[in-house]
Every structure is written in structure tokens, then in C-alpha cells.
């Protein structure tokens, strides 16, 4: 006797949607992490993975950090290490703090709206 087992694999549509949501929230996640402390690139990737269980396309993180820096949301500095290979630390800038507060408000409104819609 055979059983047909349907594996609950996400459809292509859901996968696409997930990747869009991830892309859209990555900046928000990064700014929130940097609110608490400074991180260097590799550490930041690990933090994102730990907090969100999200696999970040690692290479794309650096151009993103560069854009946030150009927009004045974060700052960066090189810090010498005993290994002789310095780390580039990123920190939240004042402009970033202001933007983050606005983003936070938007996020809460959205969260409430979605809760409201899904409960119905």
C-alpha cells in the first residue's frame, strides 16, 4: 500500500513574496540592531541571522551599508585589531535615529492594521 505524501513546500509565489518582505525590512532590521551597539559587517550578518533566522545574501549587505552611509543614516570607522586586519564598525547616526523613530511608528501602524485584517 502506498501513501501519497504532499510535502508542504512553499509555492514559488510565496517564496517571491518572502524575499520581497525580507528585502523591504532589512534596512529596518539593520538600523534597529545598530541602535543598541556598533557592529562590523561580519558580526552584523551573524546578528541578523540569529535574531531573524533570515539568511542574508552577504555580499549585498556591503553595498546596502554603503548606501545607508551615503544617506547619512549610519557612520563608519576603521578600528585596528591585534590581528593586523582592521574591522570597519558601523554606528547609527543622528539622522538614522530620527529616521528609525519614524520607521518604528509606521511599523506599529502596519502591524496593527495587519492584525486587524487577519483577525476578521
Amino acid at each position: 500500500m502506498y501513501f501519497i505524501y504532499i510535502c508542504p513546500v512553499d509555492s514559488e509565489f510565496v517564496n517571491k513574496w518572502k524575499s520581497q518582505v525580507k528585502k523591504g525590512t532589512l534596512t529596518f532590521i539593520i538600523l534597529n540592531l545598530l541602535k543598541k551597539q556598533e557592529y562590523y559587517g561580519y558580526d552584523l550578518i551573524e546578528q541578523i541571522r540569529q535574531h531573524t533566522a533570515m539568511e542574508v545574501a552577504e555580499g549585498t549587505l556591503y553595498p546596502l551599508l554603503n548606501r545607508l552611509k551615503n544617506d547619512g543614516l549610519i557612520s563608519s570607522k576603521w578600528v585596528e585589531q591585534a590581528s593586523g586586519i582592521p574591522r570597519k564598525y558601523y554606528a547609527l547616526a543622528d539622522e538614522g535615529r530620527r529616521s528609525l523613530t519614524q520607521m518604528q511608528h509606521f511599523w506599529e501602524d502596519l502591524e496593527n492594521a495587519i492584525k486587524h485584517i487577519t483577525e476578521k
Binding site: 559587517g41 561580519y42 549585498t60 556591503y62 574591522r87
Partner: protein
């Protein structure tokens, strides 16, 4: 730049190959930006190797880090495109402008519009050339005191329509100034667009 220490030749080769690809991708950037990108990737590789799983061989560990970073040609393209645009609008160097537009054309329709605006400036240059070939027929023509035509008009047409050429010997200098001014204006617009 101090590079991570590797035990095996194969790992060194793998590292060098990847770093060379990064170098090639970012070679059009100013040296300060170039060094910044290279140092950051170098640091990423070093930190990754420190935290590598001990059951893996050194080469496997590096390969995994590089795979996760992705192809330099793809990953760093947006970074190069963005910095190139910044450089172009600060220096006003036509070569930088051309490269920046080529890199950014896939980032939106607006950059195609800018490319066309820059192409329009060739019109003024073309007019200078035409004036040298047909000095009597090319000019800026007014009719009853209002602008009518920038281009070529044969004698009989001019007489029939009552056109008057207004620039005379000033035609070529005015066209050159117009080229420079429209170039500066377009580049300033590009700068505004980038900052938005």
C-alpha cells in the same frame, strides 16, 4: 593591506583569485573607495576564517565564505554604479559621466533620459562643424524679431521667408558656450537627482 594567513597554497590561490575579481570590479572607483571596499572584504574573509567550522578543511571554509559573499561582478555593481555617479556629478568629468550613466541605465528610466540630454549637446557641436563647412548658410535665424531656426537655411528660403541671421561671426563661440552651459546644467540636474 595585511591579508589573512593561510596554510595551504590552494587556499592562497583561491583568495587571490577572488580578491583580483573584486579589484577588477571596483577598478573604476577613486583609489580611496577602492581600498575601502577591498579592506572590508579582506576583513570579512578574515573574520569568517576565524569562526570557521573545524571539521572543514581550510580551502572548504574559504570557499564557503566566498560562495556566501557572491560573485563580485554582481554584488558590487550597485556600489560601483552609485559611487561612480557621485564622482561624475562632483568632478563634471565627461568620461566619469558616461561611465556612470552606462552603469546606472539598468537602475531606471530617468538615466536613459539623462543619456539623451547629454546626446543633445552634440547638436551644438554639430552646428559648429556645419558652420565651418557651410559658413554662409548655417546660423541662428530670426523672423520678425523672434527665434525661428537654429540650423541651415539656403539663400532663397531665407529671402522668401524673411529670415535674418543674428549671430554672424559670434556663431561658433556662442555654440561652444551653449555646449558647456548645457553640459553643466544637465550635470547639476543629475546631481540633484542623485541626492533626492
Amino acid at each position: 593591506m595585511k591579508i589573512p594567513t593561510f596554510q595551504q597554497d590552494a587556499t592562497v590561490k583561491l583568495y587571490q583569485h577572488y580578491i583580483n575579481r573584486v579589484k577588477r570590479t571596483v577598478k573604476t572607483l577613486p583609489w580611496r573607495d577602492r581600498d575601502d571596499v577591498l579592506m572590508e572584504i579582506n576583513s570579512h574573509i578574515h573574520e569568517g576564517m576565524q569562526k570557521a567550522n573545524e571539521t572543514q578543511s581550510e580551502t572548504e571554509a574559504l570557499q564557503l565564505i566566498l560562495d556566501k559573499l557572491g560573485k563580485p561582478e554582481v554584488v558590487f555593481k550597485p556600489l560601483v554604479a552609485e559611487r561612480k555617479l557621485k564622482q561624475a556629478t562632483i568632478t563634471f568629468n565627461p568620461l566619469h559621466v558616461m561611465k556612470a550613466l552606462a552603469l546606472n541605465i539598468s537602475n531606471g528610466f530617468i538615466y536613459l533620459v539623462f543619456s539623451l540630454l547629454y546626446l543633445l549637446q552634440l547638436t551644438f557641436i554639430f552646428m559648429v562643424g556645419a558652420k565651418l563647412v557651410y559658413p554662409d548658410q548655417v546660423g541662428l535665424f530670426f523672423k520678425n524679431g523672434n527665434f525661428h531656426l537654429l540650423g541651415i537655411a539656403a539663400f532663397d528660403v531665407r529671402e522668401r521667408q524673411g529670415l535674418e541671421e543674428v549671430l554672424g561671426n559670434w556663431f561658433i563661440p556662442v555654440m561652444l558656450v551653449a555646449t558647456v552651459l548645457s553640459y553643466l546644467l544637465t550635470t547639476l540636474l543629475l546631481r540633484l537627482k542623485r541626492k533626492k
